[in-house]
Symmetry: C2
């Protein structure tokens, strides 16, 4: 397949969309598919659609589609809930594998909800667990045999810095600490090979690079040799071995199915299922190569024309995800000005202008145009207008 | 408003739908609304829609709409996740209110996922908790000052038997045990006044009588005087006091907002939001009166014409929800035969034929026709055909 595939997406005219790392755009065929699910499947089949339309198997079916993109074998990935919930499931299962230790290791670059969910789990267990946060660069050296689980996001949501998943996982394995990778900014963005990394758990979301739509469900992976023994803390009925037996006692389903919880969001899943068809025939190596080219081009052009901006993403492509971030004192206002001109990126406090690059629907001309518009805004100080100031600074 | 309002629903021709207690039918205007969310909000506004289209406030806005139907004040109900997750949140918050006790009381008529989630929480806490199950009739007398929380579903999913929520809650309050009511078969079906009941917590789902669509999200209620102190075990970023500050430490939002977890399923929520408009101007007392009339009519007609069926729902309307269940030895096959004739109810092992009555789209003529078709099937032993036998008995 030749990239980009702009024809597959319904992007507004005049928009250069550099925020697919927050919310991917609408794949063109999704609305018709969702309408069919609503009018035909729900409307006409009603309750029967759980069987006649394959709703019950949808979470596993989607898991397999995603698995192909992250190097996970069929039957090892399950879709459902939100990333926060999946982090909770993975972490509680990880702690159960390592009952004698009490330190959960993460880093200051992790997305806050991962840390918050760990805090909640620690409070719930009330057994002396500690969440230890270190700088991203210090993670590998901090892993020792006191660590009960390592919980990291591969790509830093602010800076785009990328962890060495293989090396850190190997280090964790050497001391017997289960490893959980959050692939929120990896799945659909960079090459991931979970089989090769051999981490115990992985989680991720589908509304960023996978374009599943706002609030699309998350996914969880368990290494196949562990899945039959993983402890499902959120033991809902659809993770039961025989949900329709309505037995009073929970008995986990074999394998990854035990990570299902409640009734899945069929309509939301249908949007994701249609969106995942975009990936048919796409090679992640090709996506990655194109992404690197776009990112490098953007960095070069911004550094040549916008001296006020400072690159805070790693300069070396191998150490970066599929986004580029610059620090700029007036970053908030500059991003508003940029969005007003049709270039949509986003801002993260205190001063980060963040740009995601998705070769599915972006090409070199888009990158050049976006960089030139930003340079124009900085040259003319167009950001220094009242309408671009922050109304409610984040506190 | 005069009931029924069949014009608001898109029901297949020839179908009498008596399974709205499993999955409500499609409100006619839902597909257009969802299409607008997909094409306009997601497609055109992209990431901006979180603010421009009110996505961020949607869970609270929907909570308030549901609140009106269950006697909960504005700001006390939050929509999100699944019922299993909301049970987990309510139960963990309840246990935190009563730290010195170790018995969670429920009954054998509760829906299994509630019990499974309690089991999971108990295993996670590993602090000597016990899930005690008693017969529904024995609940009130079992509540004493050893009980850490009472977790019950108001209406039994199998029999339609209804608990006396006010009396049981008063009993729990008298011994200082927090009370959680699962309103899965209550919301939109019968009159509920949470303010009057004064229970600490309530949860429910929206895909049954509220017609929110397959996998529509759940809701949770916390009594307003407790909400600012409730412990959010699943402490996700959207329950944070300032989610976009991306602070490393969790600080719960005031009130019910702390029961938000991850990114909400916007598309699925949009279907629910449209579906809830059906309830505008509807008085739950009117719904309840019409529901009782339909149920009584069905019971009378079945008992007059189907001697092989035995009523297992309470005979007295006040002790019943909005469903009627009959035991029949060949219930599975008879239900398949009935569905083949366009009358959709459902079956629950071992021998329960279950019929939900929803006055929004059912009238006396539907009830009579359904009963007559069932009588015909029994008279002719039409259920005794190979195509209606169970292929895979539930084990």
């Amino acid at each position: 397949m030749t990239l980009p595939r702009k024809d597959l997406f319904d992007l507004p005219p005049g928009v250069i969309y550099l925020d697919g790392n927050s919310l991917g755009p609408l794949p063109r065929h999704v609305p018709d598919r969702v309408e069919q699910v609503l009018r035909q499947e729900w409307g006409q089949d009603l309750i029967r659609a759980w069987n006649t339309r394959g709703w019950m198997d949808q979470p596993a079916r989607l898991g397999d589609r995603i698995g192909r993109l992250i190097g996970a074998p069929a039957g090892s990935v399950m879709v459902g809930d939100t990333l926060s919930i999946k982090v909770f499931q993975a972490l509680s299962a990880a702690l159960a594998l390592c009952p004698g230790r009490r330190v959960i290791l993460s880093d200051t670059g992790n997305f806050p909800t991962d840390l918050y969910m760990a805090e909640g789990l620690i409070a719930l267990k009330d057994a002396g667990y500690e969440l230890r946060l270190v700088a991203p660069e210090a993670v590998a050296d901090t892993i020792d045999d006191t660590i009960a689980a390592v919980l990291l996001t591969e790509v830093d949501y602010r800076t785009g810095r990328r962890h060495d998943t293989a090396a850190i996982t190997a280090r964790a394995r050497a001391v017997g600490a289960p490893m959980i990778w959050d692939l929120a900014h990896s799945a659909g963005a960079i090459e991931v090979d979970l089989t090769d990394i051999a981490c115990e758990f992985a989680v991720g979301c589908t509304y960023k690079y996978l374009n599943g739509g706002p609030g699309a469900p998350a996914f969880i992976y368990i290494r196949p040799d562990l899945a039959d023994h993983a402890s499902p803390a959120l033991s809902g009925w659809l993770g039961h071995d025989a949900p329709f037996a309505f037995a009073p006692d929970y008995r986990p389903a074999p394998g990854i199915a035990r990570m299902r919880v409640g009734t899945p969001p069929v309509v939301q899943m249908a949007a994701l299922e249609a969106a995942l068809e975009v990936w048919d025939g796409i090679d992640m190596a090709e996506i990655r190569a194109a992404s690197v080219a776009l990112c490098e081009r953007f960095i070069a052009r911004i550094e040549a024309t916008c001296p006020g901006l400072r690159l805070i993403s790693p300069r070396e492509a191998a150490q970066r995800g599929s986004q580029v971030s610059f620090a700029f004192e007036h970053g908030y206002a500059a991003m508003q000005a940029l969005i007003a001109r049709g270039v949509i990126g986003d801002f993260r406090a205190p001063d980060v202008m963040r740009f995601g690059f998705t070769p599915l629907y972006l090409d070199a001309a888009d990158v050049d145009a976006a960089a030139d518009i930003l340079a124009g805004i900085l040259d003319s100080r167009a950001w220094d207008r009242p309408e671009f100031r922050r109304a409610n600074p984040v506190t």
